[in-house]
């Protein structure tokens, strides 16, 4: 098996364990962060802070390389300008996130934990993603 498949598997595993350890796989805890007017739980800020502290170092190294350590092309997004799709999409995502307390990563972890509600959420999310592909590929009338 190519090494980069093995590294992808391990990376996904560590990401999932990080979500579990951080408490972010628990939608009730995420909603505790999003509920500024209630009893506010700032834990999510520390999760992001810890992740970004490591990420800053890693991405500054990655930015100076053309290939990964396993010889894969370095695929860093190049686009820098803001556009309507980015903002509207992100606003819409926040609404869904606020309704359920679930975003894509934690939803997959909750699915692996066997939560029936996570199965429904992931099925709806995949349907939404498939709808997006369908709209994108439909030729303009």
């Amino acid at each position: 098996m190519p090494k980069h498949y093995v590294s992808a598997l391990f990376t996904g595993l560590i990401f999932g364990l990080g979500l579990l350890l951080s408490g972010m796989a628990n939608p009730a805890k995420v909603l505790g962060f999003l509920d500024l007017a209630g009893n506010w739980d700032p834990s999510l800020l520390l999760v992001m802070g810890g992740a970004i502290a490591i990420g800053l170092v890693a991405f500054s190294i990655a930015g100076r390389r053309s290939h990964s350590l396993l010889g894969q092309a370095m695929r860093l997004p190049l686009k820098r300008e803001l556009d309507q799709r980015l903002i509207l999409g992100s606003l819409g995502f926040g609404v869904g996130w606020g309704i359920a307390g679930l975003c894509p990563g934690p939803a997959l972890v909750a699915l692996g934990a066997g939560a029936p509600k996570a199965i429904v959420f992931v099925a709806a999310m995949l349907t939404g993603m498939a709808l997006f592909e369908w709209f994108e590929r439909k030729p303009a009338a």
Binding site: I14, G18, L20, A51, A58, L70, L91, G98, C103, T127
Partner: protein
């Protein structure tokens, strides 16, 4: 705003965040890819030959994380309070919008901010704001 000191878990949040950061670091340095879950998942719905197995491997790792966790310790509580109809609406919105906006909490919130990307900073500000407003409306206006 009142701090919920009972719910606040600074050490496990920080430690879990560092693990998430390590995963993002490994993925860019070993695979040359952004660890953005919506992008990795979405790429499977418009499959390109030779671009599928790594996505399945990464997503498989995420899904088996709780299975492996359970071997060593009891799983933390995963409490999903939203009703089934609301979960369907939320899932559809998250699916369409993360693809339309090119990312979610992982791709924009963790990796993008780590890259100091202006797009990801704006995206994160946008989804945090609409997330705060949505929870405010649901809990304090509608009182659900």
């Amino acid at each position: 705003m009142k701090f919920d000191m009972l719910a606040f878990t600074p050490w496990s949040a920080l430690a879990g965040g560092i693990l998430i950061g390590l995963a993002a670091a490994m993925f860019i340095l070993l695979n040359g890819r952004i660890a953005g879950i919506s992008g990795i998942l979405g790429g499977l719905l418009a499959p390109v030959k030779g671009d599928i197995a790594w996505r399945l491997a990464f997503l498989g790792g995420m899904v088996i994380a709780p299975v492996l966790w359970r071997i060593a310790a009891s799983l933390p509580t995963l409490e999903i309070t939203a009703s089934y109809p609301m979960l369907v609406i939320a899932g559809l919105l998250v699916g369409i919008s993360t693809r339309y906006g090119s990312g979610c909490t992982s791709g924009h919130g963790v990796c993008g901010i780590s890259r100091l990307s202006p797009r990801s900073l704006a995206a994160t500000a946008a989804f945090m704001t609409s997330g705060f407003l949505t929870v405010f409306v649901i809990r304090h206006v509608l009182g659900v």
